[in-house]
Each structure stands twice: as structure tokens, then as C-alpha cells.
């Protein structure tokens, strides 16, 4: 887990009390998502909502896992097209070494890409959320972008 978990007091000190009041006492509270902000990890409400009090700041949180589901949908479609391509190759291809080697190379390459993807994706904490404050996305963990 990169970055330090911001405490309620540190956010108050950084003049961010409006966020500080949302920090749960138990950090694994399902109503909250951890997000990167100012190079720190903070906790905010998981649902999109308007902040309370006299602050008009709007924010929206997109759970990072939503991107993973989109990726999995893409992989599913890719898999269908791959199966159709392999079917064409096996059914209509000439019976020779070229057909065998290209089919094998495609399968091997696909397995390598999927395996490497799994290796990298399995190390990621998918509980994090992408929070958009007043139209600015905190994608890069800083406010500078």
C-alpha cells in the first residue's frame, strides 16, 4: 500500500476539515473508499454525494474495480473473436506445418499476455476509488495534473 493513511488531525491541519469529518473511525468501513489525494491515502464516502455543511464542493467516486469489470468484458469479447479466428484456422486452413505453427504461436502468445496481465493485476488493491473533485480527476494522486 503506497502513501501514508491520512489521519483526521492531519487533514484538519492541512485545512481540509470537510474531508476529515468523513474519515471513519474504523478504516475498513464499507461505506468508505480509500482514495489517493495529495500523495496521501484518505477515506471518503463510497457513494456519490454532495458534501454536508455549508461547503458546496461536489465529488464523485468511481470504484477502481469498475475498470477491472470493463477490462474483463473486453477480454470476454476478445475471447469470442479469438475462438472464431481459431475455428476458421482449424476448419478452413490448409493441412500443413504453417497452419499448426501459427495457431500454436497465437495460443502461446495469448497465454503469455493473459498470464502477465494476471500477474500484474493480482497485486493491485481494487478497493481504491477514483475521486473526481469539482471536475478535476485525482487520477495521478496529485492535484497538479
Amino acid at each position: 500500500m503506497r502513501g501514508a493513511l491520512a489521519t483526521r488531525q492531519s487533514l484538519v491541519n492541512r485545512k481540509e476539515p470537510e474531508i476529515a469529518k468523513f474519515i471513519p473511525s474504523v478504516t475498513r468501513d464499507p461505506r468508505f473508499l480509500s482514495v489517493a489525494r495529495n500523495d496521501k491515502r484518505i477515506w471518503i464516502p463510497s457513494a456519490s454525494r454532495r458534501m454536508r455543511g455549508n461547503d458546496n464542493m461536489n465529488f464523485m467516486t468511481i470504484p477502481l474495480i469498475a475498470f477491472l469489470y470493463l477490462y474483463l468484458l473486453f477480454v470476454f469479447i476478445w475471447l469470442i473473436f479469438s475462438l472464431v479466428a481459431l475455428f476458421h484456422m482449424v476448419k478452413y486452413g490448409q493441412i500443413n506445418f504453417m497452419t499448426f505453427i501459427t495457431t500454436f504461436a497465437y495460443l502461446a502468445g495469448s497465454v503469455i499476455i493473459l498470464f502477465l496481465s494476471y500477474e500484474y493485476l493480482s497485486r493491485i488493491d481494487w478497493n481504491t476509488g477514483l475521486t473526481i473533485f469539482q471536475g478535476g480527476a485525482g487520477i495521478f494522486g496529485t492535484n497538479n495534473f
Binding site: 503506497r2 479466428a85 476458421h88 484456422m89 490448409q94 501459427t102 494522486g141
Partner: protein
């Protein structure tokens, strides 16, 4: 004998030649795949230089991994399908007929055939600089009574293919006449 699953094989039918588009066409698609891979990689490297913390970000890192993986899968499928498009687009010349098999996209495949004794005229064409240099071109086969021509597109050594078809047609016409 050349091995191929001949559609509707006739008794005593032999495959004389299997023709595909020139390998130059496949090479062009390979170059396109290299460009499609290289450009985003180059853009990514520039981004990492400008924003070195991109791979450290809790959001940016997973998004980069997802995008890279998705793009790699897409390019790999594109490359494979480019090969399939080249490899399964085929013209078969047998001692009885010419078969035109076309793979069009993922879900379309067309098979057409022409009996050799129906052929009236065969024309080969080498037009353009690259076709002339790399010796690939088109062969048009005209049949009796048919308006539509049978075309072999972007095949290697079209003159040689024309000669083979003419020779086979003459032999086939003699057999059908006797």
C-alpha cells in the same frame, strides 16, 4: 499432392496450384501492426518522462496495466486475423475447375467456382510501380456467356498463373470434347 480440404471434391480431381495474395500484402499488415504497437509505446515513454510518478499512482498504475494488457490483446488478435485474412483468402486451381475462397472479416466466407471448360479468355495484369517491382498483379478469367469476371487479386507471378490456367483449360476442353 497439395493437401487442402477441397469443397465438393470431384472424382479424379487433383489440386494443381494453391494461390494466395503476394506475401508483400501480409508484410504491409505486419508493418501496420508494428506501427500500432510502437506509437502508443513511444507516447507512453514520453508520458513517463514527463510524469515519472505515473507508475506510482494508486489509480494511474492499475489503469495503465489494464490499458496495456487490453491493447496488447487487441494487437495480437489484429495480427492473427491479418494473417488469417491472407492465409484463408485462396484460389485453388485443380484439373477440373478454379475455386475462389474469400475470408471476409470474422463472420463471412464466400466460396465460388468456375469449370475450366467454361473459360474463354485469361488476362494477366501488372500495373503500378510496386506491382512491377515486386512482380505481383491480377489475373482476370472471362467465361463464356458470363458478364462477371473471375479475378485473382494481388497474386505473385500473374503471367505464370495465366499460362497454367490456359494450358489446363485447353486440356480440359479436349477431354470434354471427346
Amino acid at each position: 499432392m497439395l493437401k487442402y480440404r477441397l469443397p465438393g471434391v470431384m472424382p479424379g480431381e487433383k489440386i494443381i496450384k494453391i494461390i494466395r495474395k503476394d506475401a508483400f500484402i501480409l508484410f504491409g499488415k505486419f508493418i501496420l501492426a508494428v506501427i500500432l504497437t510502437g506509437l502508443p509505446a513511444l507516447a507512453g515513454l514520453m508520458m513517463f518522462r514527463l510524469y515519472p510518478n505515473l507508475l506510482e499512482g494508486e489509480i494511474s498504475y492499475p489503469l495503465i496495466v489494464l490499458a496495456t494488457s487490453g491493447y496488447a490483446l487487441f494487437i495480437w488478435l489484429f495480427l492473427f486475423f491479418s494473417f488469417i485474412d491472407y492465409y484463408l483468402d485462396v484460389w485453388l486451381i485443380t484439373n477440373e475447375r478454379i475455386i475462389d475462397i474469400r475470408q471476409e472479416g470474422f463472420f463471412s466466407r464466400t466460396v465460388a467456382e468456375l469449370k475450366l471448360f467454361q473459360i474463354q479468355d485469361v488476362t494477366s495484369e501488372l500495373k503500378g510501380f510496386s506491382k512491377f517491382v515486386f512482380r505481383y498483379g491480377d489475373v482476370y478469367v472471362q467465361t463464356a456467356g458470363e458478364v462477371q469476371r473471375f479475378t485473382f487479386r494481388q497474386i505473385p507471378h500473374p503471367e505464370e498463373v495465366r499460362d497454367i490456367i490456359i494450358k489446363l483449360t485447353e486440356e480440359n476442353k479436349k477431354i470434354h470434347a471427346s
